[in-house]
Each structure stands twice: as structure tokens, then as C-alpha cells.
């Protein structure tokens, strides 16, 4: 729930209930006051009747006008009575309320019961109008209040939203650090300051770590070169026996692996650094064709059948990265395919899918793309190939996924 929504909900409930209560109270107060006014009129009428009766010793002739009726009769009780009541219209056809004052008066030695009633129609009408005007006014106030609040709140919270936007745009490893401006509000200033420090620290740590990886890899290149060249010189020794020669080859193999590992780590950090920024339109169908003829003999050597089904798909991305991605995808499939099985390449509708037969069931997709996670038993691989694929997908705006379907591993790249 948004802060605004939450606030408005509370605000609305409170305002509405106050207005409702106030409206009800207002209605009754108003009604009470008006009835009192009517009662006052009735009393005036009573006084007039009393004056008349005292003067002439007989009740006045009842003059009935539209909204006022006077009637009198001999009272059954000889005592003083003075009572107000609200009654229905005596006339059945009219649905009209009347306020009635009943009082007794001794006239010429006889108790006469007078009933003076006044129509409440006008009063009710007025009351209704007042209530309607009031309710409308309250509604208008409520609406204006909501609008003002909303606008004000939005304005007040503006710094918060711009900070949020800035933080959301921020990504570790991207060069820009969001700028949090000064606001007139202490809390937001504190928030911005904290966010700024936090992001700068994280960024610094990230770069230190990356720099470390990069430097470590670069520093390793020279000793690797020394070892390899020393082995190359050593291999020239003509007196070498088979045993030494085998030992030498073991060392060659290990150095080869290490050089490859180092190269992959450097590549990963370079992709992360977005050092492959230039893009061009890559014809993936053509690229796949090239790769297939390039690797034909490597596949044949392992008795692998490679089938491809491609449509022209063009993608904007860095050509070097496109090639590495394809190399790693195909290499991965070939490496893990058992001898004599089939590799399928499919390229259509912006999706490149490479699949191979897998003997050991599905792989764990959570671990698969992590660095140094080795899917299988092969220790020849450094477990960076798939991380590189994912990193490339990430920087070139595509999506890589793994699926297991009827005994085959599928790696899919979805180009956007």
C-alpha cells in the first residue's frame, strides 16, 4: 500500500465520521431550534386567544388558514393543561406534520380545550434545505482537503521519491553515482546523506574488489609466461627420457589450465567493466554457420552430430562478445555431450537454443551460472564458461536460461 493511500484512508475515515456526527448533531440542533420557533408562534396564538377570551368571555371564532388551525371544545377535565405535541395531519389526504399546542382555559365558567396547530411543512422544508447545503459544503470541504493534501504531500515527499529513484537507478559497477540534492527538510537530508555514504562505500568496495581481481590476474600473467617459456626451453633438452617428458607435459597441462582460468577471469571483469561498449548488427545465423564449419573437425573427432535449424536473426551487440557467447554455448554443449550423441542448435524468433543429451539428469539452475560451479565430473573446465555467457547476456540486454526436457539440457538465449 502506498503511503498516500494509507494516509488518505485514515484521513478519510476520520473526516467522514466527524462530518457524519456533526451533520446528525447539526440536524437535530436545527430541528430543535425550529420547533422552538414554532412553539413560540403557538404561544403567541395562545396569548391572543387568552386575551380575546378574557375580554369577551367567549372563545374566538376559529379562523383556519392554510398552515394554521385552531379548534376548541369543551374539556372533559376541569384542570389546566398545556401540552405541545407533534401530530399527523388530521386530514388523511395530506401527509403533513403539525405542531400542536393543546391548552385549557376557563371561559365563562367552563373549561374549554383549545388546540392550536401549525403546519411543519415549511419548517421541514427549510431544515432539509439547510441540511442539503450543509452536506454539500462539507463534501466540498472534504474534496478540497483531499486535493490539497494530496498535492501538498506529494510536494513534501518529493525529495523522498527522487532519492528512491536515484537509488533504484544505481547499479554497482556502473560508473554513475546518483546525486542526492539538498532538501529543506532535515529528515530527508539525513536520508540522502546516509544513502550517499552508503552507496559511495559500496561502490568503493566493489571497485577495490574488482581492481584486486584484475590486478591479481594481470600480475599472474608474467609468472605464467615465465613458467611456460621455461618449460618451452626445457623441452628442447635432447637427453630427456620419457619419464621426464611426461612430467613436463603434466606441467604444461596445468599451466595451460591456469592460463585459461586467468584469461576467463580477466574477461569476466572486463565485461563487467563494460569495456565492450561498441555494438553492431550481428547476423547470428551467419555466425553460427561460421562456427559450425570452424568446429566441424573437433566435433567429428568426438563423433558428435550437430544439427542446426536457423532463421535469420539480427541482434545489436558487441561482435567480440557475440562470438565468445556462441563459442562458450557450443563448447559447453560439445564438452558435456557423450560421444556419439547429437547436439541441436536452433535459432528462430529471437531465441537461440543449444541442446545436448545429458546422462545425469537435470542440473541445478541456481548454481549453474555461478562462478566456479562445476556441473559435471570434468575437472578440465574452470566453471567460468556459463558465468561468462550470463555476464555477456546481462550487458547486451538478452536473457539466458536453462531447461531440462526429455533427457536433454537446453541453454536458451532470448534476444530482446
Amino acid at each position: 500500500m502506498k503511503l498516500f493511500t494509507r494516509y488518505f484512508r485514515i484521513n478519510l475515515i476520520a473526516t467522514l465520521s466527524i462530518f457524519l456526527l456533526a451533520g446528525i448533531a447539526f440536524y437535530y440542533v436545527l430541528w430543535f431550534l425550529m420547533i422552538r420557533q414554532v412553539d413560540e408562534d403557538l404561544r403567541i396564538e395562545q396569548r391572543e386567544i387568552e386575551t380575546y377570551a378574557a375580554k369577551y368571555q367567549r372563545p374566538p371564532e376559529p379562523v383556519n388558514v392554510k398552515d394554521q388551525r385552531i379548534s376548541f371544545e369543551i374539556s372533559p377535565n376541569s384542570e389546566r393543561l398545556h401540552r405541545f405535541s407533534t401530530i399527523q395531519s388530521p386530514d388523511r389526504n395530506e401527509r403533513e406534520n403539525f405542531r400542536q399546542l393543546s391548552f385549557t382555559l376557563p371561559v365563562g365558567g367552563q373549561w374549554i380545550l383549545f388546540k392550536v396547530s401549525k403546519s411543519l411543512e415549511a419548517t421541514e422544508h427549510m431544515n432539509r434545505s439547510v441540511i442539503i447545503v450543509t452536506v454539500l459544503t462539507l463534501m466540498a470541504i472534504l474534496l478540497v482537503n483531499i486535493l490539497i493534501n494530496r498535492w501538498q504531500l506529494r510536494r513534501l515527499w518529493q525529495p523522498f521519491y527522487s532519492t528512491l529513484h536515484g537509488v533504484r537507478q544505481f547499479k554497482l559497477g556502473k560508473k554513475e553515482i546518483p546525486q542526492f540534492g539538498k532538501t529543506g527538510i532535515d529528515e530527508f537530508n539525513q536520508l540522502n546523506e546516509t544513502m550517499d555514504n552508503f552507496i559511495r562505500d559500496a561502490d568503493k568496495e566493489y571497485y577495490l574488489l574488482k581492481e584486486f581481481t584484475e590486478n591479481a590476474s594481470h600480475e599472474l600473467q608474467t609468472p605464467l609466461a615465465v613458467v611456460r617459456s621455461t618449460l618451452d626451453v626445457l623441452a628442447q633438452d635432447e637427453t630427456m627420457q620419457e619419464k621426464q617428458s611426461n612430467a613436463l607435459q603434466t606441467a604444461y597441462g596445468a599451466i595451460q589450465k591456469m592460463a585459461k582460468l586467468n584469461q576467463s577471469l580477466l574477461l569476466l571483469s572486463k565485461i563487467e567493466n563494460r569495456q565492450f561498449a561498441e555494438t553492431s548488427l550481428i547476423n547470428f545465423e551467419k555466425l553460427i554457420g561460421e562456427k559450425m564449419s570452424e568446429w566441424q573437425e573437433l566435433w567429428q573427432g568426438r563423433n558428435l552430430t550437430v544439427r542446426s535449424e536457423t532463421q535469420p536473426v539480427f541482434v545489436m551487440m558487441n561482435p567480440y562478445l557475440a562470438e565468445i557467447m556462441l563459442n562458450n554455448l557450443l563448447g559447453n554443449a560439445a564438452r558435456h555431450a557423450a560421444e556419439g550423441t547429437e547436439i541441436n542448435i536452433q535459432l528462430k524468433e529471437e531465441i537461440l537454443s543449444v541442446s545436448n543429451y545429458g546422462q545425469n539428469g537435470p542440473l541445478d539452475p541456481d548454481k549453474l551460472f555461478k562462478r566456479f560451479s562445476k556441473g559435471g565430473q570434468s575437472s578440465d573446465q574452470n566453471g567460468l564458461g556459463l558465468s561468462i555467457i550470463r555476464q555477456i547476456a546481462e550487458v547486451s540486454g538478452s536473457w539466458v536460461s536453462y531447461e531440462w526436457e526429455s533427457g536433454r539440457h537446453y541453454f536458451k538465449i532470448r534476444f530482446k
Binding site: 608474467t222 617459456s229 626451453v233 620419457e242 617428458s245 573437425e297 573427432g301 563459442n327 557450443l330
Partner: protein, 258 residues
């Protein structure tokens, strides 16, 4: 004048023969090909010198920028193997100086930095080639000899090894004056072997040379064996001697010695 910091055996034999159509070069140009190795990592510099010197090259070594500058300005080299990161200066400055003095020395940059920018920077400043550490010495030797071939003889040239004749421009091979039909990979392989003659070349180096980065596709080097077998068969069928020797588990050696 300063004495060379290190001098390895002068090439005594001369079986590499460069022939330019219609014109013979000064024999000394052909015999003594001086290579300067500028590399601060002593062990690496010494290995390179040891490997190259036993070929037809004379190697000199400079372990730092200062001594490299003196050497470069005093002598002409057929090729300079140049490390970019030197403790007392940048190899690129040396390259710039070389170019501003209109020296014709070929330059092969060796660097730990493998980025397109660094590579382009080096090549734009006038380097002839760029090799990334860690490299195989056989690869270095192949690059050096390619640079020297280009520098010394212009475009159109022939490379002779015993009764084999390689036309570098057309990428054709003649055995006893008869063209033999080689695939691209077999031709590359032959050129690589001749550039590293009498050397044991590791099979990993061969794989890397032929397939580049995609060579780790295959778990074994069996696929190299197929190419080598075919090349050897074609050469022998055309009447050449069998120059190729397999060296235990290590790799191969191309040699005219029996």
C-alpha cells in the same frame, strides 16, 4: 658504445634462405639477424633469448627502459621484442621514439594486458604485432620470423627449407618444384614448423596456433594428430624427406637432421 647485455650463440648454420625475385640481398643482412628483447622479467627474457638464439638469430637483451633506449639508438635490429610495462618507462614511448627516428626495426609487443584498446594502441603506434602473455615460445618465434620476413623482403617472398618452398603470399607449397595441395590448416602447420625448426613444439602450442581460443573445445589433442598425419603423408608422397618427429607425450619436432 655499450656492450650487449647478453649475447647468445650466433646462428652458425643457415638453412633458412630468403630469395627475392631477381635480386639478392646483402648476405650479412640474411645471416646475422639481430633481435633485441626488451623485458624486465629476467627469467622470461633469458628464456626467449635462449629459444630464439639457437635459431638463425642473434639476441640481445635489455632489462630496462634506459638500456633499451641506448641499444635501440645505437643499433638496427631485425626485430625488437618489446614489453610495454618496464620499471623505468613505457615500452610505448620507446616505440614512439623508434618511429620518430624513422627506424625500420620490426616490433613485436609482448604484454600482460589483453585488451583491444591496448592492442590497437600498440599497433597504431607502429608495432608490427602484439602477443599476449603467457605465450608459447614457439608462437613468439613464428611471429618474429613473420615480422622479419615482411620487413626484410616486402610482400612477395618465398621461404625455402631443404627441398620445400613456401610462397608466403599465395600460401602455396612446392616440393621439388611441384606444387602440392595442402589445406589451410596444413599450410599453417607447415609454416609454424619451419619457423620453429629443430625445436620441440608443444602440442598445446600447436592447438592454440591452429584454433585459437576455441581449442579448449576438445579435451584431448587427438585432432592435431590427424592434421599432422595428413601433412606428413602429403609431403612424403610428393618426394620430401620425413622431417617430422614425434617427441614422447610432448609434441613434435621439425628437423632436417636425421
Amino acid at each position: 658504445m655499450q656492450e650487449p647485455a647478453a649475447r647468445f650463440s650466433i646462428a652458425t648454420e643457415f638453412t633458412f634462405t630468403f630469395v627475392r625475385y631477381g635480386q639478392r640481398r646483402d648476405i650479412f643482412n640474411l645471416l646475422v639477424m639481430k633481435v633485441l628483447i626488451i623485458e624486465d622479467e629476467k627469467a622470461l627474457a633469458d628464456s626467449i633469448a635462449a629459444y630464439l638464439s639457437s635459431e638463425q638469430y642473434v639476441c640481445e637483451i635489455a632489462y630496462n627502459y634506459t638500456s633499451a633506449r641506448v641499444k635501440v639508438s645505437d643499433y638496427d635490429y631485425a626485430c625488437i621484442v618489446l614489453d610495454i610495462n618496464l620499471p623505468d618507462g613505457s615500452g610505448l614511448n620507446l616505440l614512439k621514439e623508434l618511429k620518430s627516428e624513422h627506424k625500420e626495426d620490426g616490433v613485436l609487443i609482448i604484454s600482460a594486458r589483453n585488451s583491444l584498446d591496448d592492442r590497437l594502441d600498440g599497433l597504431n603506434k607502429g608495432a608490427d604485432d602484439y602477443l599476449i602473455k603467457p605465450f608459447h615460445l614457439s608462437e613468439l618465434a613464428a611471429r618474429v620470423s613473420a615480422i622479419i620476413r615482411r620487413k626484410s623482403f616486402g610482400g612477395n617472398n618465398l621461404l625455402q627449407f631443404e627441398n620445400l618452398q613456401l610462397n608466403i603470399t599465395d600460401k602455396t607449397v612446392k616440393v621439388n618444384e611441384r606444387i602440392i595441395d595442402l589445406t589451410r590448416k596444413e599450410y599453417d602447420l607447415l609454416l609454424y614448423f619451419i619457423s620453429n625448426k629443430n625445436k620441440v613444439i608443444n602440442k598445446g602450442a600447436i592447438a592454440e596456433h591452429l584454433w585459437g581460443d576455441s581449442m579448449d573445445m576438445a579435451d584431448s589433442y587427438d585432432f592435431i594428430y590427424t592434421h599432422i598425419k595428413n601433412l606428413r603423408k602429403k609431403l612424403i608422397q610428393a618426394g620430401s624427406r620425413d622431417y617430422l618427429k614425434s617427441v614422447y607425450g610432448l609434441g613434435y619436432k621439425f628437423t632436417e637432421r636425421p
